[in-house]
Symmetry: C2
């Protein structure tokens, strides 16, 4: 059976999956955790094969770190599954209950989306996380992971699939796509797949969007900003900028651009340049930034600011480099962010409530922060239990997407033979009453 | 300034519109109502010109009815504006408030989507409705109405725009596109337009989806079903079917297909065929349906059932014709609906709670109804005040879309210099507390 037929079979079983009890779905998560625990050696040895191949292929050490599935990641995965079981059922929540007229009751009730296709980078822990979120939310899922961890993925997927079947859920609820060519087949399945979640580079997400009719939830870039306002506590600002840039520079919620308010630029820029240099990071910036840092005669350990052009401010470095500009006040900062940013997460450091409110209101991003690091933009840190990704789109789900983003709703209307003609003729009238 | 530049200007003013107070937005609605009232003659005379042109062009009478903007529609529009002012502000609602740790507070707060492009059929009342919903929800909107009512649209739009400006909202908040070629330009504005809502034929909506990167919210078809179960009250079933098919056959929530459970088919089919015939409607169906109706020797006023093929069951008649099939039980009915339906609204008529629950759980549609007509699927009838359309997609908004569907949310995080490094090092721990 080719993958398109398999996905069609999955679609047919989606209503059964959607109707499954939370007891059964949680049981599947518990069995997944058990299976991971019992098969640790098998998993690690599969991962060893992937790691050896990666080393041979000369994969960069930072990337290799993501491919590895070790004791720590296994423990995190099992702990994640435990926490997920404790979360409330996202399915069957009553969002609205209203009597439209005597004996005619409307309810809006959450239900699973149906069939979700997730295409993710080579990270075995992502496979565990994503499949468990889909199961918990009553969805079926087609999973396509990065080929660099094909061996690890295969072992993990088989353990997960058999746990799901053992819990009494449809055995067509999960499907693993292994061939790269199957991505294009998946993109064609707009009759059967309800949502695609691509994770990866901007180019990749863009490719997906341009080649499918299936709705796509994904983030296109992480160009996050920290704006240091004239009324900032500058010590706090240094700490926030250093954390936002250097705590984990490769991820999307790391800051790429520092905006500094004009009145504090002269004092702040040399301090932040020095603090960043201590963590191995350097500034690129406008001529003005370069001049202000140079004028401070910092130690030779602090690299000079490389001068950059304005049109580079949309760049996502993903590295220990930060763009920098002096702006005159919070309004200019907001304009810059809305123009060059990616609507992901942007922070202001200030003690001024008016400026903060203006910033948080006017910046058109999924996360608007005051006096804290952009690195907090994450489903775990928000207390969602886990996340399938971070959405920079505005529809359906925005920001870190947890279980809530994997459900939709239905309207249930129950009457006693009610017909519209009676209301059109004026014989009856709607009498709304919230229940 | 061409339309793409104008849309870009609109995008720049979207945060200001989003930040506007509900007092001001309601004021705009009140001024709109006043302007409509005061300029009734001007509106009617513009509409007369459109009607005369339509008549000359030989536009069908049923379509002409939609083009007309008369006393009744004006009164409905003004009443709609009054009701809309009374609805709660959809912007600024706190969906989640959680302390992540001491002094670090996360809130999820609703906010407008930003810039919405609405392409709608030639119905002047739709222009009033859609623009007022966008204003109420703090969005900017590009409106493109059908060219058959170009004169009426122009007058209405100018009244609405000046009311909005008079209320102190940005005068770039609304824009009317008049040329058909501007649709394609609008589709290119994926940097500036956040959402497209196309209304019209399936082919048109499909065209839009295939030619833009902007997210699209629209319904692709209205193939609604009524399933008459073996445990139905057959009198009720006749009334529901007749209403669902004949009360307004041209609209998307009218039923296109009647499914009848095998044990009651012999009794029910002749009765419903006769009742439909009384309202000028006729059945098409499988050979079995034709035979069962023929066997009843109904009066010659009841047309014979035209035999149809299975692959025609996805057809949207929009007319006084109804497809019909005998199925063996609720499970078969659900399979048929999920396969041939359009995930819009489907009803079961039954006294059996188990069958009803199975149907409502397993049918994968925006509306799942028991013992009432599919014609209730409508934002006004649901008590939403108004609707911008009905979504058969599952993401963001499903079913009739009112104000709720025109907002998204932002995460606001306020700290006191909190950085992620402290949590990564174990120096601090998240202590979640709902507020």
């Amino acid at each position: 059976m080719d993958i398109r037929q398999q996905i069609h079979e999955m679609k047919l079983s989606a209503p059964e999956m959607a109707a499954s009890s939370i007891v059964r779905r949680n049981r599947a998560l518990a069995l997944m955790a058990e299976a991971l625990e019992e098969n640790r050696e098998k998993i690690f040895s599969a991962n060893e094969r992937d790691m050896a191949a990666a080393q041979e292929a000369g994969v960069a050490p930072t990337v290799q770190k993501r491919l590895r599935y070790d004791e720590g990641k296994l423990a995190d995965g099992i702990e994640g599954l435990r926490q997920l079981q404790e979360l409330e059922d996202p399915v069957g929540r009553v969002l609205l209950a209203r009597e439209l007229d005597e004996g005619l009751v409307l309810k809006r009730i959450t239900c699973p989306i149906g069939v979700i296709g997730v295409i993710f980078e080579a990270r075995p822990d992502a496979l565990v996380q994503i499949s468990s979120l889909c199961i918990k939310s009553g969805n079926c899922a087609v999973l396509k992971g990065g080929r660099e961890t094909a061996n690890t993925n295969r072992v993990l997927f088989e353990l997960i699939r058999s746990a799901v079947a053992k819990a009494g859920l449809p055995d067509t609820a999960l499907l693993q796509a292994e061939l790269h060519s199957e991505i294009d087949e998946l993109l064609q399945c707009d009759e059967d797949v309800d949502l695609l979640i691509p994770r990866g580079s901007n180019e990749f997400v863009r490719y997906i969007m341009d080649h499918t009719r299936i709705p796509v939830m994904g983030h296109s870039a992480g160009v996050c900003h920290v704006y240091v306002d004239r009324d900032a506590d500058l010590d706090m600002a240094v700490r926030v900028v250093v954390d936002a840039k250097t705590q984990y520079p490769a991820v999307c919620n790391a800051a790429e651009t520092l905006l500094v308010d004009e009145p504090v630029a002269e004092e702040f820029l040399p301090r932040v340049a020095a603090a960043l240099a201590e963590r191995g990071a350097r500034l690129r910036g406008t001529q003005e930034v370069a001049d202000l840092v140079a004028a401070a005669n910092l130690s030779s350990d602090v690299p000079a600011v490389e001068v950059m052009a304005d049109d580079e401010f949309s760049r996502e470095y993903g590295d220990l480099v930060m763009g920098c500009k002096v702006v005159d006040g919070v309004k200019k900062a907001v304009s810059h962010i809305n123009r060059y940013g990616s609507h992901h997460t942007d922070a202001i450091v200030t003690r001024n409530g008016v400026s903060a409110e203006y910033f948080m209101q006017m910046v058109d991003s999924a996360g608007v922060y005051r006096n804290c690091s952009t690195r907090f933009a994450d489903g775990f840190r928000y207390g969602f239990g886990a996340e399938v990704g971070i959405s920079t789109g505005k529809l359906h789900a925005r920001g870190p997407v947890g279980l809530d983003g994997l459900v939709t709703y239905k309207y249930r209307l129950v009457g006693e033979g009610h017909v519209v003609a009676d209301y059109a003729s004026g014989e009856r009238e709607f009498r709304y009453r919230e229940l």
